[in-house]
């Protein structure tokens, strides 16, 4: 039976989602507006046989979750912009070493320390491109407390299944918002665990993919002895400078995500069946957009919303399919440069009428802001 409906905060739902998915290790350095994820983890993890570690900074936090994950524990951390910047180096290492883990980035407003308690959506490109070199990952963005829970479970599932770090790209609005929600009963949502090796330990190669494109991951410290390095490595894990190997490895990091693109890319559509105007959103801005299209429709303007639940890989086919049907596309986002709007323009081409709605002063995009761009 699902538990009784209760008032639950987005950050709390993220932590509860992580426990539901089987997370047993959190390392972090609390930062507004993500601190409640750490707080809830500190309270709950010891009770369920897990470990909470407050680290000296975010560099160490990211390092600790990579280590814990290799040792077999589903691991996560939570941070905001300033901390996420510090995590990039070790996050790149996790991608190259194909270590499953979840990084919650609750986006706040402004560059540098910025407006610590105010919402932003300006880390979209940093999430995708914040690390040097060729690499890719998965990012999901919730618009409600319910999605905070469900997408955290998904984030762990994707991390475990594809051996890749997954970023939960929340914003201050959903993270601090409280809504009525009843947490699903165990078994109600799918929970995926990483594939373990079945061959004899001496035959195990940690970076040799099976036919499904993913290599099994042994528990570090078990009878399966292997090497993990951030340097370019071969199928057995040791450093390898061979160009053919490097090409294979870089390709493998990308191809395993491309291959499962349709499973990873999630979108939601609202009133798109007969629309003339499409609003493309992600995160909390979706809520203002849904109210704006309802208002537009009451004035006889046919508008719809495409919510990018998965932000990376970008739902390009979905944007293209719906973008072709309309006269205008509106992209509201809490950043200056229109990070998603530029992607939408790239997908749809330079001649498509794209109206950007940007706020970057710590205030929230309202339905009226979006309605003004629809009309």
């Amino acid at each position: 039976m699902p538990e009784q409906t209760r008032l639950i905060q987005g950050n709390q739902a993220i932590a509860e989602g992580a426990f539901y998915a089987g997370a047993k290790f959190f390392a972090g350095y609390p930062i507004t507006p993500s601190s409640e994820v750490a707080e809830e983890s500190a309270r709950q993890l010891p009770k369920i046989g897990g470990v909470f570690m407050q680290m000296e900074d975010e560099i160490a936090s990211m390092g600790a979750i990579v280590g814990a994950s290799l040792a077999g524990a589903k691991s996560f951390t939570a941070t905001s912009g300033p901390g996420f910047s510090l995590m990039q180096e070790n996050l790149g290492m996790a991608i190259a070493a194909e270590v499953p883990c979840v990084i919650v980035n609750v986006m706040r407003s402004g560059p540098s320390t910025g407006l610590a308690t105010k919402p932003g959506q300006a880390d979209v490109m940093q999430i995708r491109w914040g690390r040097h070199g060729d690499q890719t990952l998965i990012a999901l963005s919730p618009a409600s407390v319910k999605e905070c829970f469900e997408l955290t479970v998904k984030a762990f599932n994707f991390a475990e299944k594809y051996r890749v770090p997954v970023v939960l790209a929340a914003d201050e609005i959903v993270a601090h918002m409280r809504e009525n929600y009843s947490i699903p009963a165990p078994g109600e949502l799918e929970v995926i665990d990483r594939k373990k090796p079945t061959m004899a330990p001496e035959l195990y190669k940690p970076y040799t993919p099976d036919e499904d494109g993913i290599a099994p991951l042994a528990v570090y410290g078990s009878e399966y002895v292997y090497h993990v390095t951030s340097s370019m490595h071969g199928p057995e894990g040791s450093s390898n400078n061979n160009p053919a190997n490097a090409a294979w490895k870089v390709g493998q990091l990308h191809e395993k995500i491309e291959r499962y693109r349709d499973e990873i890319v999630m979108t939601k559509e609202f009133a798109v069946e007969d629309m003339d105007i499409l609003v493309v959103t992600f995160g909390a801005t979706t809520r203002a957009a849904r109210e704006a299209i309802a208002a537009a429709r009451s004035q006889g303007i046919k508008a719809g919303v495409l919510q990018l639940v998965t932000v990376w890989p970008l739902p390009d086919l979905e944007v293209a399919r719906l973008g072709q049907l309309v006269k205008r596309v509106v992209v509201p986002e809490m950043n200056y440069s229109g990070q998603i709007a530029a992607e939408v323009q790239r997908i749809l081409g330079p001649s498509v009428d794209i109206r950007r709605v940007n706020k970057y002063n710590g205030t929230i995009i309202t339905p009226q802001d979006i309605l003004n761009a629809i009309k």
Binding site: L7, T32, T117, H176, M177, R178, E179, N180, E291, T366
Partner: protein
């Protein structure tokens, strides 16, 4: 009964406004409603403008912020200036604390000395419970029984009794 309520609770950090918003939300959940509770505050944990918002609706709540409030609780002069400067021209019910604010003219301004009453009841921290009692009695946003249940869930022993006493005091004032 009205299907949707949009409520603003505003004052200074530390006055218990966010807890107030959460308790109203929990009471509404007990009555089977949908709620969205949000807040806005600065980087200080005491002092500074603090605002909690709550939307209660039978239907799904899309935009999460209050746009057309019908109920306000204002606990500082600064918050009144920021959030309800011209409320006399509207139909929003503005509950405010006459211990801390100048008296206001107009039928929709409802002033009680919440902070003074809290002190007299034995704890200034119960001022917000007195205010909740007045608000639920005069607006019907949630029932007294739901608020009692929420207080009993959140507090135990003497703390529960003190908060209940403050709630009943508020309900009586409104009658």
């Amino acid at each position: 009964m009205k299907n949707r309520h949009e409520i603003v609770l505003a004052g200074s950090g530390g006055q218990g406004l966010i807890v107030c918003g959460m308790m109203l939300a929990e009471a509404a959940i007990l009555e089977g409603k949908n709620v969205v509770q949000s807040q806005s505050y600065g980087i200080a944990s005491r002092g500074g403008l603090s605002k909690a918002e709550l939307i209660v609706d039978q239907e799904e709540i899309m935009f999460q912020q209050v746009q057309k409030p019908n109920i306000m609780l204002i606990l500082t002069e600064e918050a009144m200036k920021a959030h309800a400067p011209n409320a006399a021209d509207t139909d929003v019910l503005v509950f405010y604390d006459t211990t801390l604010l100048e008296a206001r003219e107009g039928p929709n301004y409802i002033g009680f000395p919440f902070t003074l009453m809290g002190r007299e009841l034995g704890h200034p921290g119960t001022a917000n419970m007195v205010a909740l009692g007045v608000m639920c009695q005069m607006t019907g946003v949630v029932t007294q029984e739901s608020l009692e249940a929420v207080i009993r869930q959140r507090f135990h022993g003497p703390a529960a009794e003190m908060n209940l006493k403050a709630l009943y005091h508020g309900v009586k004032l409104a009658q």
